[in-house]
């Protein structure tokens, strides 16, 4: 058992109060009617709720409501974060209801979905919230029974005294409210966990299968208008003039105007990435009417910065790969010397295109701005930063802006950049009505904030004794180089250099599920495969050799991984997949990557049918420490693998004269059901280490495992994504 400081030295901090955070109390009529309806099969609702702390309240009948602080974008934190609270509170999961907490920076920290960090960074505070509530309930029982609290224990929502008498949480909840918040609490020994580690179904599962309104796009409100935006058709353009005569006369249309969502004087947050700050807005009574009138707008656009073509930036990135950087991002040993004396040099360049996020739920947001305040509801990964910008742009203090988060139809990084929320607020203020901004798929796909286009060149020096003695890695990308200087195989190669180049562009880019890793894992793991082959070594054994070197005699400083954990997942996947066994007609590829604090290794089997690969099975070994919800964890990994395979194979955004060439799913291909692997099996390293996230780490290795398997099948190294262009479409059957 672990004793931990709660950091709750002021009662007010953890206590719930309507004024906490200075947030306005606004009628959440949509949210009340739709989102947190408290139904659970066979669970009787209490007559009264008692607020124990910011994370939970307990009903007089022992039913518990746990507030999930972070945005839910499909990564399943709305289930897994409350599981952690419930574990330390020591209740039966069947008595727990879960509600999405609104933005409240006083009660909660880091209400953000990004970097696979919700579980890792929430782990302690969620445990403390549950443990301190449990302690307060025990204190209340001790007082009632006039016994020392040390004589009490708990079990599944019941407090027990050594004498044998018991009392339910619900029966002492009223008294527990006034107990002083403890300054330190005991946390459970992980071996005593009853909820953590148990496969647990999604808390919104029933609502989703019944089609209940959970998503931002489902918001309805009395008097609400629908607004759509028109952004410039090409990056580097803005509206010059608008002829709206025809549109205004169409049915249901209320107004047409131009807005600027980031006017001079507003200091942008990091989350305000947006290539189209000036927009034409059209407002009307329903979505279809506004869509139709939008087509009748006659807008003249003007060019403000030079448009880019795929051909031009592709060449510019290639040119950068031939250019020595002024200062290397990392240099160990003497790479120049190593390459001079090399008996053999292997060189390979990898590239990947811009990608759109394409969340299935397009961008949207609800806002109602009045003179007194602003109410915003919708799908956002960064509510805290959205509030700052909204407050600044519409001229209200932050405590007059409330933000509620809906369930989100995908995130993948796209909803880190909340311009659509700002747009809703600006439009609502302008039309003086509640407004829902709705993007069409075309608006969404052509808006930008893409995964940047990247290139990287790898060079390996091999000496006459068949040792890898040097590695040069030079990366280039739009707005950023993809290369992480201190990641594996840094630390495992004596002579090592990384150089980074970035190319400026008016095409906006942002974080896309496993940023940079989503490209680097493929390049790096394909290249290591090629080097292993040149050295005549088994690809897993070769990686393990490098990791052994990094563990026992690391090269350089700041190596950004734990070689033992990295090797652990490779060994696990090797064992589970029966690596080394030859199976007729089956071609295998391996890949491993560490990002977002979790380690993942994958082995992928294909068979070729009519010269096309069928993915038979993926074995996926993972070290994310303690697995909070094994069912959710597996789902994330399966999805990450399918997502990684799909984008590596099929997806790309290209540009002609600054204009995106793709705008909907007829010309932007996403992986389909029949193309996903026939089977995926996941294995977790059981080490009791504090948990890390899984929203991203499953994705990066997958594309390389496939490329390496394809090499085994065809003898061709795939280097330029999307691979379908190199004739590698996945066969349905």
């Amino acid at each position: 058992m672990e004793i931990i400081k709660t950091h709750y030295n002021r009662r007010s901090f953890l206590k719930v109060s309507a004024a906490a955070g200075g947030g306005m109390v606004i009628g959440f009529n949509w949210l009340m009617s739709c989102a947190p309806s408290q139904e659970k099969a066979g669970l009787a609702m209490p007559d009264e709720w008692f607020d124990i702390n910011a994370f939970l309240k307990i009903g007089n009948n022992g039913v518990v409501t746990i507030f999930s602080p972070n945005p839910e974008i499909g990564q399943n934190v709305k289930t897994s974060m409350p599981m952690i609270v419930a574990e330390e509170l020591d209740v039966d999961w069947g008595t727990v209801l879960v509600e999405q907490a609104p933005l409240n920076t006083v009660k909660y920290t880091r209400q953000l979905a990004g970097g696979s960090q919700s579980i890792r960074q929430g782990w302690k505070s969620l445990r403390i919230a549950g443990a301190s509530a449990r302690h307060m309930l025990m204190e209340a029982a001790a007082k009632q029974w006039q016994v020392p609290v040390s004589e009490l224990s708990t079990d599944q929502g019941v407090i027990k005294h050594t004498s044998g008498k018991t009392i339910g949480y619900g029966e002492v909840a009223a008294q527990a409210v006034s107990v002083t918040v403890p300054e330190e609490v005991q946390l459970k020994d992980p071996k005593d966990f009853k909820i953590i580690g148990k496969p647990t179904k999604n808390v919104d599962g029933q609502k989703v299968i019944k089609g209940e309104p959970l998503f931002g796009l489902d918001i309805q409100r009395e008097g609400m208008l629908i607004a759509m935006i028109v952004h410039a058709p090409a990056f580097g353009m803005r509206p010059k003039s608008v002829d709206d005569a025809a549109a205004r006369s169409m049915p249901g249309i209320k107004d047409v105007f131009v807005i600027n969502t980031l006017p001079d004087g507003v200091e942008p947050q990091w989350s305000d990435v947006n290539a189209f700050k000036e927009l034409v807005v059209i407002v009307g009574d329903n979505t279809w009417n506004v869509m139709q009138a939008k087509k009748a707008l006659n807008i003249e656009w003007e060019t403000v910065s030079a448009p880019m073509d795929t051909n031009s930036y592709d060449k510019a990135l290639s040119d950068l790969l031939e250019k020595k950087a002024d200062t290397p991002a990392r240099k160990d040993g003497n790479p120049e010397e190593a390459f001079k004396k090399a008996a053999k040099i292997i060189e390979r360049t990898y590239s990947a295109p811009f990608l759109a996020h394409n969340t299935m739920e397009p961008m949207n947001f609800f806002a109602h701005v009045t003179a007194d305040g602003a109410e915003l509801i919708g799908p956002i990964q960064t509510p805290e930063f959205l509030r700052k910008t909204v407050a600044s742009v519409i001229g209200l203090p932050e405590d007059k802006v409330s933000i509620n988060m809906t369930r989100q139809g995908g995130g993948f990084g796209r909803r880190l950049y909340g311009h659509f929320g700002v747009e809703a607020a600006v439009i609502s203020k302008r039309v003086n009505a509640p407004v829902k901004v709705v993007y069409t798929r075309e608006d969404d796909m052509t808006q930008g904030t893409y995964r940047p286009a990247y290139k990287v060149k790898y060079q390996a020096a091999i000496d006459k004794n068949n040792n890898l003695i040097g590695l040069k890695i030079r990366g280039a990308g739009i707005h950023e180089s993809p290369v992480f200087a201190n990641r594996f195989p840094a630390g495992a190669v004596d002579n090592y250099v990384v150089e980074n180049h970035a190319l400026e562009s008016n095409i906006s880019t942002g974080a896309w599920r496993a940023p940079r890793s989503n490209f680097m894992a493929i390049a790096e793991q394909c290249f290591l495969d090629e080097v292993a082959e040149a050295l005549g070594k088994d690809p897993i054994d070769f990686r393990l050799e490098l990791l052994e070197r990094a563990a026992t005699n690391p090269v350089g400083q700041n190596n950004d991984y734990d070689p033992a954990r990295y090797a652990g997942v490779l060994k696990l996947v090797k064992e589970k997949s029966g690596w080394g066994e030859k199976k007729n007609g089956v071609h295998r590829g391996v890949s491993a990557y560490f990002c977002h604090n979790s380690y993942v290794a994958q082995v992928l089997d294909i068979v070729m049918k009519n010269s096309k690969p069928v993915i038979q099975k993926v074995w996926c070994a993972v070290d994310c420490g303690i697995v909070v919800n094994p069912e959710g964890a597996k789902n994330q990994l399966e999805g990450g693998i399918v997502d990684g395979l799909g984008h590596t194979m099929y997806s790309e955004m290209t540009f002609t004269n600054g204009k995106p060439d793709q705008n909907n799913f007829h010309n932007y291909k996403l992986i389909r059901n029949s193309e996903a692997p026939l089977e995926i099996e996941c294995f977790f390293v059981d080490n009791g280490i504090d948990p890390t996230g899984l929203g991203e780490p499953g994705l990066p290795p997958a594309g390389a495992a496939l490329a390496n398997a394809l090499y085994a099948a065809t003898g061709r190294r795939l280097t330029n994504q999307p691979f379908y262009k190199e004739e590698a479409t996945i066969s349905p059957m």
């Binding site: 019944k210 796009l217 989100q408 399966e638």
Partner: protein, 152 residues
């Protein structure tokens, strides 16, 4: 604008709409049935799938004026208590991640099992390839369809 009498989930709705308005937007904006989702508007993603006389159709590309007397079934009307075999299987397998596409997936799967109670893998692919799941839950979707087929 015209008035359309639509039979949706065994109820009659009288809706005032532009005859070209797709059924999707009539359901969502006029009838208040938001379980049917917008994903692409061009019948490429399947998020808007509903049943027309029991067969799967993409409601984003079906004008309200073309519905006529057909029985429209949406996710809200697939069963009374969310206990259609496909819904039960979806919950049992814990298919969803973000959940946004799942109403369309469930409607496509239910229509498939209506016509073909014991679909082969190829039948499942053919019926489900029109439904995109951006989270990549395809393996669980297949598993849930097979489980639902056993339940029937």
């Amino acid at each position: 604008m015209a008035t359309f009498k639509l039979k949706i989930n065994k109820k009659t709705y009288s809706l005032e709409a532009d005859p070209n308005m797709p059924l999707l937007w009539a359901l969502r904006d006029l009838a208040g049935l938001t379980g049917t989702k917008y994903g692409c508007g061009i019948a490429q993603c399947g998020a808007c799938t509903v049943h027309l006389n029991g067969a799967a159709v993409r409601s984003c590309s079906l004008p309200i004026s073309a519905v006529g007397n057909s029985e429209v079934t949406t996710i809200e009307g697939l069963s009374k208590n969310g206990d259609h075999p496909v819904q039960k299987a979806w919950e049992e397998v814990d298919v969803m991640q973000c959940g946004y596409c799942q109403a369309g997936q469930i409607m496509s799967a239910a229509a498939l099992l209506n016509q073909n109670p014991n679909p082969s893998d190829a039948d499942i692919y053919n019926a489900m390839n029109g439904n995109i799941c951006r989270c990549g839950t395809y393996l669980r979707i297949r598993e849930a369809i097979k489980l639902a087929a056993q339940m029937k």
